[in-house]
Amino acid sequence: MTENMNEPVKPRKRRRLSRRDFLIVLGVGAAGFYAGVRLGTPYLRLRLVDFLEESGGPPSNIDAPPDAWFEILINNTVNLYLPKSEMGQGVHTGLAQIAAEELDVDLDQMQVFHAPTTRLVDPVGTSASNTISSLFTPLREVAATLRELMRAEAASQLNVLPQDLVLEAGVFSVSSNPDQQRKYGELFQSLDQWELPENPPALKDPSQYRQIGQPLPRVDLPAKIVGKAVYGFDVRIPGMLYGAVARPETIEGKLVNASPGQAASLPGVVKVVTEDDFAGVVAKSREEAYRALASLQLEWDPGKLWQQEEIEAMVTVGQGRGVVIQREGNVNQNLNNGTLVEAEYRTPMAFHAYMEPMAAVADVGPDKVEIWASTQAANRLRGAVAEAIQRLQDEIVVHPVYLGGGFGRKIDELAAVEAARLSQTAGQPVQVAMSRPEDFNTGFLRPPTHSILRASLDENGMILAIEHEASSGEVAFPFLPSIMGTVMGADFGSYRGANVYYAVPNKQTTAWLAKLPVSTGWWRGLGLMPNTFAVESFIDELANSANLDPLEFRLRHLPDDETGQRTRNALQIAAEEVNWGASLPEGHAHGIAMSYDYGTIIVEIAEVSVENDQIRVHKVTAVADPGLVINPDNVIAQTQGAITMGLSASLLEEVQIRDGAFQATNFNQYPLLRNADAPDIKVVVLNSRNSPTGMGEPPIGPIPAAVANAVFVATGQRLRRLPLKFD
């Protein structure tokens, strides 16, 4: 099951398709949206918040017939082409399980590929943990439709009724005469007149699932384990040259003058490009390209030399634009009744720091442009390349390949655009594969945040009113048409996780948004981790003020609905797992935090000790409830991975700006969590519904607060700033 980057783009036969759409529509969100148009902008905004919280962001509209998704070879191997990127989160396996379920085949009969944009286009990209939830039904419908088309074809060829056929492992046989058979592979080849039904066939009842819910091994690992999987950095095309691009040292740096100097005469150099805003070199080897780049004569305007303090001042509650995104009861009237508690929290900017720096190969030819890239958003990348080299989108084919991590940043199309510009000039395929400093210093970061929380407690220790004011740099807005920003008012990426989930009669959340001189954007979970750090730390502070156990305090404030029930269950299971309240080794303490994010419930309990002001996380126990579980082992893997990445962010990571530039350019100045400091992580997976929610991001939310809450128990000191450290 390998990723073959040279998979030929099969010319699609013209087929007679009845116009059945495989659109994923806005569903329940659409009703709210249209109602909002009549009821005014503030109403619309609140409904949009509700919709996005439930659904995990804008859905993917993929309108394509079954033969775009599937190709069945004569030997009965099912090739599944996916418009979603495999960046380590395991979606190719989960989607293959979902497709295999309705096709009634086993995963070892399938091969999974990234779909080139000529085959399938996902307008949204791979993000927001919504791959599985948004494709769960459409992909089953496509698979079931294909199955039934092949059943009808088999019945016609065997001269029996469709219901007289038995299906097993991709082979139809006549029930009264099992020797009479037709394989999927044969039927697929003979299907050139496709009559798609008006409605999809009935889908399996969950009790019938054989693939969904099984801890099946990942389809991408056999190639990865032997070093054969191809990533953007690894793509090799005949005649491919290596590009190197000049980059400013400051965040506002602009090229004002460039001349080739001696570069063109250096060994291996094929082309030197010096344009108004762009300078680069194309050479026969990477080493030669970078050596020549260093000899270009470049003049930069560094722009304003920003300092860290100026950035932080901009991201402060009350600065920029504030929009109310949650309002129940009357907070202002009730904050002054009872005991007032107030606290503020900050989180820093952070790099994505995936292990594979940005990389892409472009082959710009006279009739066709081909791009191979580690990308989370092939469609967006295609548009950006088209604009950069002034070509029609239809002339451009993007082949997404494996990503060595993405975490939101690989929505960025820069490497592909640069490779295309260089290839266009050189007339040969060119790879741009960034060094680590280039990757760190080019593109966007997780924005800094600032939160102020206020609450009043009544005499029984219940929260009477709670207010969260959350300030952040932009996350989604830089990537959306500006009209969306006008309608939404607040950036749904930035305020993700800011709303107070608990049942409190009076609550209000305001999202403050700052446009910063440094580019900020998507980072695993978006605002979820920074906001959950603030809210879940504050809930712990309230429990302490109320003199209540933090677990008990949370249980008393759960909403009285299905989600509240699921959360109660998850909290109690987590507590049982760690024997909450029982004594721990000397100096160790437990901290708990939870999140309800895009329909997924996560509870995390960290066991922590502090020695010589050093925080050590010994063990993390997590409970994950993503509704319907597609692959329990992958839910565990995503939970372990997100917790570990979140611990790195909680304990170590921070980007600061000095004199207009990032202080860190590589891992020597931006260390990540290492193996010896990474705890064992026990994960309990709950299966509570008939449809799946997301798992790639939600488990990163609670971990910083779980650790900070444990540090408070261990030391009596409340740390309100990431990374967590003692001053």
């Binding site: 070093g227 990533y231 292990m355 570990t644 990445m645 969590l673 290492r674 193996n675 990474a678 064992d680």
Partner: protein, 159 residues
């Protein structure tokens, strides 16, 4: 110069400042060895030089002269029928479903192989310390430790 990689001889040009990593990846096409930082910190580029784990991104090509270079592509053996037989470390990483994005995994597995060749029966702390040298951003550290333990058991059974 002659460069010996995975028991094969290659003739490569040894100009000054050539780094082993780019020769392996760009000239020999062995892209299983990855680039991560270029300063020897992250460990994605770890290969063996005469059995010792070595950062290819900061190793001059000339340093590999007269040495045996081993990369991820050289870990699996081939059986008499021409089928690949995974190294116990690869098998254990697969059994434990360790990799996610897998960009760091060649470095992780080469580090684990070197550990087990020097210390066939490491305790939990020795595994933590040995595997501490390679970053994994997807956060698979816990599974890596379990896989190295399993690989040690698999190797013990094999012998």
């Amino acid at each position: 110069m002659n460069l010996k990689v995975n028991r094969q001889d290659y003739q490569v040009e040894d100009t000054p400042d050539r780094l082993l990593l780019w020769v392996l990846r760009d000239e020999l096409g062995l892209t299983g060895t990855k680039f991560g930082c270029g300063i020897g910190i992250c460990g994605s580029c770890t290969v063996h030089l005469d059995g010792s784990p070595t950062r290819a991104c900061i190793t001059m090509l000339s340093a590999a002269n007269n040495m045996e270079v081993r990369t991820i592509e050289g870990l699996a053996e081939t059986d008499s029928a021409g089928e690949p037989v995974l190294h116990p470390v690869q098998k254990a990483f697969l059994d434990e479903q360790v990799p996610q994005c897998s960009w760091c995994m060649s470095g992780q597995m080469m580090t684990a192989v070197a550990l087990l060749e020097q210390n066939p029966n490491p305790n939990a702390d020795e595994i933590r310390q040995a595997m501490n040298s390679v970053y994994c951003r997807c956060g698979t550290y816990y599974r890596i430790r379990k896989a190295v333990e399993r690989a040690a058991q698999l190797k013990a059974v094999e012998q």
